[in-house]
Symmetry: none
Subunit: 187 residues, 4 copies
């Protein structure tokens, strides 16, 4: 792994463990096993590192969200695939997920970055499924961003409860969550 990758990985780890406000350069380069000067070969300052980590995490999430998504599948199948992918990403990559979640509404992340297109155009995919469901009279008529935010919020919230071990997230709970989020949109 390159030094740059080492630095970014160390940064993500530290943010996860101690929170951004506690992450110092000193901690980063100790954890990453690089000299203090080395960081400046790759990043001009701390904000740049955090933004780069954020960008990478968003790319990763974007790719993950549309995995196994087939436009030919039924609306229900496509909806559940998207929700499952998001949930599975959170289960498999808790550090990335929490980091994205916390910083998406933080003043620390630049505006452009917050509104970046995911690696794949996953947001559009989700929105189009919602709009299609509404057109078919299956989903209630609502501002599509409201619907999007709603089902996204269910997944986020469930994951956070899982992270602090309020409950397990096995196959059965996962199906319940997916089903609930589907129901939440129905007319």
């Amino acid at each position: 792994m390159s030094k740059k990758q080492d630095i970014m990985a160390a940064t993500l780890d530290l943010i996860h463990e101690e929170g951004l406000q506690a992450v110092t350069f000193s901690k980063i380069f100790k954890r990453a096993n690089v000299g203090s000067g080395t960081i400046y070969n790759y990043f001009a300052n701390k904000e740049e590192i955090v933004n780069a980590v954020y960008k990478e995490a968003r790319m990763h999430l974007g790719e993950y969200l549309v995995q196994g998504f087939t436009p030919e599948a039924s609306l229900y199948e496509r909806f559940k695939r998207l929700q499952l992918n998001r949930l599975q990403f959170g289960i498999d990559f808790p550090k990335e997920f929490l980091f994205i979640d916390s910083f998406s509404f933080s003043p620390y992340i630049s505006h452009e970055l917050r509104n970046m297109d995911d690696g794949d155009n996953s947001r559009e995919v989700v929105l189009s499924v919602i709009v299609e469901g509404q057109k078919q009279g299956i989903f209630r008529e609502m501002e599509s961003h409201l619907s999007h935010q709603l089902i996204h919020g269910i997944i986020s919230s469930i994951l956070k409860g899982y992270y602090v071990q309020k409950y397990p997230l096995d196959e059965i709970q996962i199906q319940q969550v997916l089903e609930s989020s589907w129901k939440a949109l129905l007319v």
Copy 2:
């Protein structure tokens, strides 16, 4: 207002505007209009201030959640009251709400504080409504904490989208959100 209140209010404002990592003592006592030493008459260090602000916000939320809640009302009425109160709190007190939301899963907040009882026993009230609905066969059988987290997450997420002006939150959207969160729990 007492100096202590001034300090806590200034801290909450600054966290909201710039994020915790950007809040310095210098900014706090300038904003609060107190001498630098004054802070140490009330708080031993920055962490103590933040914890105190968190505690106060949680108390405020706790009281707010059970406002107008009448055990005699129908399950539907009681459910909607609780969800509406949470949503309304977020609309009326965005700084408090966002602060609680961000820090509830942050390493910065001590474990005991995270699990503190709200001023009122609001959490138990919500859980009991969920359990009652399940007993009556209205709500799907699920781990009650999962259900709780789910409907809580819907409100949080909707509020965050509202804060960044993805959509308005007028009477009509509010009713849609409440309805969706009710649907999400149905069998």
Copy 3:
């Protein structure tokens, strides 16, 4: 005891326990059980307190040194009386003694205060004994201040060893020390 006495006693205690550099006003008025403002009714600043404590200790020592001194006694008796008094003062008032010893050569004590006349003119008494002994051919001819410093130093040093419990100071050791200091001056 008056507030002023309380403050001075607390200061001496604290200097003895922690050293001057660790003594703060806060510690002084907590120990003395007075309000922080009260100190300023008696002393303009910390240096004044320390100087006052020093002065008082020197007065105390001065009185003690000439106790039981009778000009009619033999040279040997008078010499031993003076040396014994100094030693006994150190044994009975370790805090005062150590404080005087440390600060007599410290930049903290003002020059006039260092050279103050003791309450009684004890220094002159000691010097006159030395000069008399030299005139009688009993003591070696030496600069009298050198002799004075020499026998004073023996007592100081012995006391410091005693304070850190290198050895006991009972009647037998005391007599040995007095005898040694007498011998040190002989021709």
Copy 4:
């Protein structure tokens, strides 16, 4: 000279000039011509600097004390050599000497450090000379630490008087002092 040495030298100078309680980091790094952060590359806090300076001074003294000491010389010669070395050290290195003297009985210096072995085993050398003299019936029977403290105290005290210019310390006075300290131990 290394930065570390610069810092320690500046600290010793400042303690000598103004006393420990007046020594601030700001003064140290101005005097030592280093950046404020540099100090923390070598010492965790001020106490560590002072302890390091103390240790170094003690090592220096320890080496100095046994210079030119030859076990084959007569008891008298050996005794005078040790006393002369101590006196000469004080004359040549007044800052080191005074610092050691003040702090050897101060609460600021850690217990282990106070009882450290000097660079050379100078303390044992002095004690063995004392014990040998007592065995030969030349020195009076006394607790050896008492004797040690006594002759050590003579030198210290004489030096302090010299530092404040009570008297000169030329060859003649030096011989008188050495002779006196020898006499002080005789039967």
